[in-house]
């Protein structure tokens, strides 16, 4: 077709015609979007009470992530907006409603002088403790590793801040007058297998009783623990990744060794050189690793991390004063001292203001006010704690076969108008 024919046509296409045509294209998009939505059900269809804006990564078992926008919209992540990572779904519990079962029993056994069973009802009558923690899937950020490891393709949404309420394991043992055998070094936990569910077994070092307020949690955010998040009772250890915060717990066993089950090894581990002072042994991206209990460690303590929650990636904001905002957190062993923000792709960094925290296991809220002229920017954030623990500029340095514990510096592109 000759140019001189084409040109007048596009010139002649007035605004109305353009809108009409884009409307047709838009309708086509809408229809297609509908078609796709039918294939992957929305979060509220998979779990009753969830915000449909959550992104469903799997409907069976249930895996869904929150979004930066939702995380930035509330200080405590509501049950509607909190991510879910189930390894095993318990039939009938895909709901944020409570799972009312006062007779539910938890067995406390293993290396203790007097093993016992306790019901949820009895637990609710013991002294309760509240702790606000960052709950994060150890696979959060996996999709940023390159090449992409196997597993759920989390972006940033496998995290939230919630307030747990329950009975500290220490309190429970004291209340029952039960003594630990000095040989006990691990806590091995089992989830319920009701309804024919597969077993789920995880271990913690026994130190979580001392350092991480390990508790049998009965409540979340001032309500009974939602069924999908482990109600009626879940083991929670503040400052740790979600994987060993076992939902629907039925057994707490004090053991000499950590579990050798699949969930403990090879799953949920990163390579280490025992005795070497590096959190993860760097491995060649794309290479294989033969995980054993000795050449790797479990995803226990959370590593230091920080997210930019505003501006959102790809958004436009009004200048000149732009408030870059977000959160930072670690395992609670030492306070976060410094949160630095760069708006020139890492050439210069300036400290953000820490506005407040939610206790040592919660989010540190920070703000970095900047005067920015109209243009394109890339914001980056990096947190450092009093121990000097910080985040790598290139998170891929810690590429690992199963894609755990990503904490590379976050980059957000935005436009100032």
């Amino acid at each position: 077709m000759p140019r001189n024919h084409e040109h007048p046509l596009s010139e002649a296409m007035d605004r109305r015609l353009f809108l009409k045509r884009t409307a047709v294209a838009g309708a086509a998009l809408g229809l297609m979007g509908r078609g796709l939505a039918q294939q992957q059900p929305t979060a509220d269809q998979v779990v009753q009470g969830k915000n449909p804006k959550l992104v469903v990564l799997s409907s069976r078992p249930v895996v869904m992530e929150s979004t930066l926008e939702l995380l930035g919209s509330e200080r405590i992540t509501s049950k509607a907006n909190l991510f879910v990572r189930n390894n095993i779904d318990l039939p009938g519990l895909n709901t944020t409603e409570p799972n009312v079962q006062p007779g539910w029993e938890v067995e406390i056994t293993g290396l203790v002088d007097k093993p016992f069973k306790i019901t949820v009802d009895e637990l609710s009558k013991l002294p309760q403790t509240e702790v606000t923690t960052v709950l994060q899937c150890s696979g959060n950020g996996r999709s940023f590793f390159n090449p992409r490891p196997s597993g759920n393709p989390w972006t940033y949404g496998g995290v939230g801040q919630v307030t747990w309420r329950g009975v500290l394991l220490k309190t429970l043992l004291e209340a029952k007058g039960v003594k630990l055998d000095p040989k006990a070094r691990f806590i091995t936990m089992n989830a319920s297998t009701q309804g024919g569910a597969q077993p789920y077994e995880k271990s913690y070092p026994i130190s979580v009783m001392e350092h991480n307020s390990a508790m049998l949690a009965l409540g979340m955010n001032g309500e009974p623990l939602p069924a999908v998040h482990g109600g009626p009772v879940r083991l929670v250890a503040a400052g740790t990744f979600g994987t060993a915060n076992v939902k629907w717990i039925t057994k707490v066993e004090f053991t000499e060794k950590e579990s050798s089950g699949n969930e403990q090894v090879p799953r949920y581990r990163v390579p280490v050189l025992p005795g070497w002072n590096t959190p993860i042994l760097p491995t060649q991206p794309g290479s294989r690793y033969n995980y054993t209990l000795d050449n790797s460690r479990s995803n226990w303590g959370a590593n230091i991390n920080s997210f930019i929650l505003s501006p959102l990636p790809g958004s436009s904001v009004r200048g000149r004063l732009v408030e870059i905002r977000g959160v930072a957190w670690n395992d609670g062993l030492a306070p976060i001292e410094s949160i630095e923000v760069s708006v020139d792709s890492g050439t210069t960094w300036r400290k953000a203001v820490i506005e407040g925290d939610h206790g040592k296991f919660g989010w540190y809220r920070w703000v970095a006010p900047r005067l920015l002229s109209p243009g394109e920017y890339e914001a980056m954030v990096r947190a450092t704690d009093a121990l000097g623990r910080t985040q790598p500029l290139n998170g891929n340095i810690w590429w690992n076969e199963r894609g755990y514990e990503w904490n590379g510096v976050m980059r957000v592109k935005f436009t100032v108008t």
């Binding site: 039939p91 992409r148 196997s150």
Partner: protein, 233 residues
Amino acid sequence: MNRRYLIGVVLAAGTALWFGLGQGSLPEGPGRELVLQKCQTCHELGFVTRERQPRERWDAIITEMQSYGLRLTSEERATILNYLATHFAPGAQAPTPAPQPQANVSGAQVYNNCIGCHQANGSGVPGVFPPLAGHVPSILATRGGREWLIQVMLYGLQGPINVRGSSYNGAMPAYPQLSDAEIAAVLNHISTQWGNGFPSGQGPFTEAEVRAQRGKNLSPQQVLSARQGLGLR
């Protein structure tokens, strides 16, 4: 310029559709049926189709699944490994969506999605997965039973049920990704196999019947409540 823009929009939409459809679909090839049969017993197919892994990693993943109870003969294992390592290798494109099946969809073929739980002979696994043999006709005979069977396919079913004297408390996944024709075909298959048959006066499921149940967005729990309303004996 506007026309180019339009073409761009349509292309982008097309790509999104292409990719979206590819997510849940398995490319043709030896081993496809085995993957359909074996993998969906415990998890949805997305866990397979979203991965791009080298052969040795797929090998390790299959071993891990076997440790979770996946039972395979060595021939089946080799076939599945070849299939995954061929079609879901690093850099592999999203699988080409199967052409929208039209007139001659085989219900027996679609039933490959179901074998992992309900078994080839429709017997299920006592106490774990309910039988279809001998049970489907009693559902068809109830008022609303036909519609309900379509809803189970589209929206899944979760919670305690009682089937022929045994109780079950599991979850049946939803299969909204199947076409109307495929759902009609598989329902016709399970309604006529293993001694099953349609009650007198009832004909085969049609695509229109399936279409009529789409868009209701029921939860698997709502499908369970609907079952209680059927008055199954």
